[in-house]
């Protein structure tokens, strides 16, 4: 299958306030297949936010190219939906209008069909009883559900999620993860999921990209070969902990990571 998203030797520099260039990304190359769920893990300063801005077309890479459907990304496109770390809803709009915000903001008007589309998305994220509530009345988890529905409104092919559950408590976080998998199953999309949590990455993704910091580089790419649908039982599987150990090892002791530790992983790319 033709890759959906490709990054080819992407390097990015930005200027600090003192005018010194800082390298945020160095020679990052990877590709994502259609409807693949890819997680990116790495410590702070590994260029995850830069990656998000490059993919969404908000910035252009200094070197290399970012391609979606084989064409370089030169400006933001409708094919991409973004879920941010904080729900960042508009506090003066109710749930329904927050979900519709992208269309309203873009075109000023909303059709009946789009309203129905928003309603079904609200239902999909489990908030049908809260459509007329204001964001201030919702819990953090519910607000992030609204954020997910908003990102899905323009029916994007690619969903970029920037540590979407990091502001939530551990229990809500787990629940949201499984809900995300259910939504992804109902309307398949290509997902790029940025996270700090190794277990979350292994639990959700088909492929985990491990980044290392200063400058941000791709240090390893691991295919997660766990059966779907995944559930709380997945966490107890032996292979699950092997994957998480392996990733942890790669993050904390990159040089000592033994690539042959996991027998059934054949697609290791060590950069």
């Amino acid at each position: 299958m033709k890759p959906f998203v490709t990054l080819d030797k992407v390097s990015h520099y930005y200027m600090t306030d003192e005018g010194k260039p800082v390298q945020a990304l160095k020679d990052v190359s990877f590709s994502i297949k259609k409807n693949e769920f890819v997680a990116v893990v790495g410590p702070s300063g590994c260029g995850k936010s830069t990656l998000l801005k490059l993919l969404s077309g908000l910035m252009q890479p200094t070197h290399g190219s970012v391609n979606i459907f084989g064409t370089p990304v030169t400006e933001p496109r409708d094919e991409i939906g973004i879920v941010f770390q904080q729900p960042t809803l508009l506090p003066w709009l109710n749930v329904s209008n927050n979900v519709l915000f992208p269309i309203k903001h873009k075109r000023g008007r909303v059709t009946q069909q789009e309203k129905e589309q928003a309603n079904s998305l609200i239902k999909m994220v489990g908030l049908e009883d809260f459509a007329t509530r204001m964001p201030g009345e919702l819990s953090g988890g519910m607000q992030q559900r609204v954020g997910i529905a908003r990102a899905l409104l323009l029916d994007p092919d690619i969903l970029i999620m920037d540590e979407p559950f990091s502001a939530l408590d551990a229990l809500t976080r787990e629940e949201m993860g499984f809900d995300l998998l259910r939504i992804w199953n109902e309307s398949p999309k290509t997902v790029l999921f940025i996270t700090h949590s190794i277990s979350e990455a292994v639990l959700l993704a088909d492929k985990v990209l491990i980044m290392s910091p200063r400058p941000g580089r791709l240090s390893e790419e691991i295919e997660i070969d766990l059966p779907r649908p995944r559930s709380a039982a997945t966490v107890r599987e032996k292979a699950f902990s092997e994957y998480t150990d392996r990733i942890r090892q790669q993050i904390y002791h990159p040089k000592t990571a033994d690539i042959k530790a996991i027998k059934d992983d054949k697609k290791v790319v060590n950069l």
Binding site: L58, I82, T88, P91
Partner: protein, 261 residues
């Protein structure tokens, strides 16, 4: 038992301001009578009340209207200038770098000191009084609006740009509403400053208004009358503050929810 004591303290908390006032007034009255304090030094509350009712209702109305007109028009004018200016400053780094120092210089110049100058510049009509009110209310409004608009989460700006929405929409549909809680805080400060501005202007040049009436009363040693006008003035100022609060709560209830959080 404990529940009872809690509700008791709650009642006490609620009525504490009224109780304080109810204790201060008789004490004040008592001190004035006991020590025979002359009314031109400190009039007793009863004398102030007497002076208040002796002045015609129409006369109070006339002075109140004169002060309110200047305060509210100046405040409105200030809003009309400061909010668009804040939008321009948020939109352009260069403009904000250029204007901010000027604003700070203007703010740090005492308005009372430039009031006579403004009168000679603008003549003796309504214009200098509006200018003084505008000048005194301007800064809190610009600062609160700018701060509010700058406090908009960068993700929302990213969202707006990722939708390729025009720049004016970013300002009007995201930044400006986001700044409303800040703007209302600024308005609460500015509306009471507007009364101060109007009074300062009346002290310098006016033939009516509550500020003028205070000065006029004092110069004739009608100190109880001056006190009556002073108290009237603070009640008006408080009412305006409450009015802004009410508008915020009624039309922009969500901004209050944010304050609580």
């Amino acid at each position: 038992m404990s529940e009872f004591t809690v509700s008791k303290t709650q009642i006490l908390k609620r009525y504490l301001p009224a109780i304080t006032l109810a204790l201060i007034l008789p004490a004040w009255e008592l001190i004035c009578r006991l020590f025979d304090v002359p009314s031109y030094i400190l009039p007793a509350p009863s004398e102030i009340y007497q002076a208040f009712v002796e002045v015609d209702f129409d006369r109070w109305g006339l002075h109140l209207w004169a002060t309110l007109k200047v305060a509210l028009l100046g405040f409105a004018l200030s809003m009309f200038i400061s909010i668009p200016l804040a939008m321009l400053m948020v939109n352009s780094k260069y403009l904000s770098k250029t204007l901010y120092p000027i604003l700070v210089v203007v703010q740090s110049t005492p308005v009372v000191a430039i009031a006579p100058l403004l009168i000679t510049m603008f003549g003796s009509g309504e214009a200098p009084r509006l200018a003084i009110t505008c000048l005194i209310t301007f800064f809190p409004l610009v600062v609160s609006a700018t701060t509010g608009m700058m406090a908009t989460p960068p993700e929302l700006i990213d969202l707006s740009r990722s939708l390729r929405a025009p720049r004016y929409k970013e300002i009007f549909a995201i930044r400006l509403p986001y700044a409303l809680p800040h703007i209302f805080s600024g308005m609460k400060v500015a509306v009471t400053l507007a009364i101060i501005g109007a009074v300062v202007a009346e002290f310098v040049a006016a033939e009516q208004g509550l500020g003028y009436f205070i000065q006029f009363s004092t110069s004739f040693f009608k100190v109880p009358q001056a006190f009556a006008a002073l108290i009237f003035l603070s009640v008006v100022s408080l009412a305006l503050f409450k009015l802004v609060h009410w508008v915020q709560a009624y039309f922009f209830g969500w901004t209050m929810a944010k304050e609580k959080a």
